[in-house]
Subunit: 229 residues, 2 copies
DNA sequence: ACAGAACTATGATCTATATCACAAAAGACG
DNA sequence: CGTCTTTTGTGATATAGATCATAGTTCTGT
């Protein structure tokens, strides 16, 4: 983790919708209670179970949110910046309920939790934007959960690939930012099943694979697979 | 649905933490934009896909939040009052992203969405309480998701029974508020599997079943099953 | 009280995907 | 450059739980 330290929220070009609505005085409060950090691929941003007094704002890169389950670690979601993560630590206990790890080189701003709370209390529009953002996340996660539960592995993998292409990279060709084992944790499958299913999609000509690079050549077909489960 | 209509938020004894922090003027705003309703068992409170301009506050009873998946309806969570439901409709589109159905006779207050938003904007403490509540829900749902995914059916059923006993009824003996088919939608299993697994728990002497009534006689053992999956 | 619907019970079979076992390939690093 | 670790590929086997089929039971409305 590299620490650029001091940041300037006023001139920051990757501000969240929430920060957009702050006034000058509030930006000053934020600025003096905010520190930047840079993470390399696979570096842990925060760890489940650890005490914290910060909320993280992911500015660039890609982050996985993951949590220990009864039998293994599971990736709850992939977070594309810009996005706040770890907001639930505003709750009393201040213990991270999940881990966050960079999947690509990632820049993060840490905001002191009490400052975040102060801004919520002071500025209703800020609070409103935060609520919107959490609600959006909530709905997305509901959908993802249902899909994970009800689709079988082909559909879940197709979903993941389409998500990476459409939402994360906005390109039909991209380098997989996760190992197949991670991908398994994300779509709830074993590494072996991921390998086999990827192989199947490749054999059927729906995707091209060159090392880490994946190219979705038949997105319509992938979407159909995603639909049918 | 029976409509008591006019409610008085000032004297309401089942106020949320959020409403607790409102001042007199805000309570007046709330009161004039709030209507009560009573639902019978299995009555729909709101329907996924329908347009709405209200947020619901469940005062008493028990509610299931459920949503259509690719292959079937799934119960996302059981909501024990008091609790707001449907907050995500504060997002632009105002379309319910899931359904809510009463599992027991249930009383609900509907709050006009714009009023809810006004209160968030006006009163930072209200906003803060709302955020706390959503965050709490979020964490609970993460845990539930991971458990659903990683545990097998015995563990999932044990979880559900312990949840009903400990969180909902606060008693080791209770009448199942869901059919076995619903229970299947809740723990992601078929009705047949629920029947068999319940039968198994009964045969093993961990629970007693008399019609709809269930009595957890070996909670420690159930907890062990829940842990081991 | 009775007919129709909804719910519960249980056995027989099938299947998607986990597990296990091993090997090859690709990265990491002294 | 070679060793060590991590990642990927692939077959053989096992299994939890779905699906199918059939009946009995309880609820609901008239």
């Amino acid at each position: 983790m590299d620490l650029p330290g001091q940041v300037n929220c006023e001139t920051c070009r990757i501000r969240s919708c929430a920060v957009e609505v702050l006034d000058q005085q509030e930006l000053d409060i934020l600025k003096t209670n905010c520190a930047g950090a840079v993470y390399a691929r696979n570096e842990r941003i925060f760890q489940q179970g650890s005490l914290t007094s910060n909320i993280a704002y992911v500015k660039t890169g890609l982050v996985k949110i993951h949590k220990n389950g009864p039998s293994k670690d599971q990736i709850l979601k992939l977070v594309k910046p810009p996005r706040f993560i770890g907001i639930p630590t505003v709750l009393g206990d201040r213990i991270n309920n999940y881990s966050a790890t960079a999947l690509l080189p990632t820049t993060v701003c840490f905001i002191v939790t009490s400052t975040f709370k102060t801004l919520i209390m002071r500025n209703g529009r800020f609070a409103n934007e935060v609520i919107n953002s959490i609600c959006q996340d909530e709905l997305t996660f509901y959908d993802r959960s249902i899909n994970q539960m009800q689709k079988q592995i082909h559909g879940r993998l197709a979903d993941a690939l389409l998500f990476l292409a459409d939402e994360i990279f906005e390109a039909d060709s991209f380098d997989l930012p996760l190992s197949q084992s991670d991908l398994g944790d994300y779509i709830h499958a074993t590494r072996e099943s991921v390998t086999r299913t990827l192989g199947r999609l490749k054999a059927d000509g729906l995707i091209q694979v060159k090392g880490k690079n994946i190219k979705l050549t038949e997105k319509d077909m992938l979407r159909k697979i995603s639909k049918l489960g």
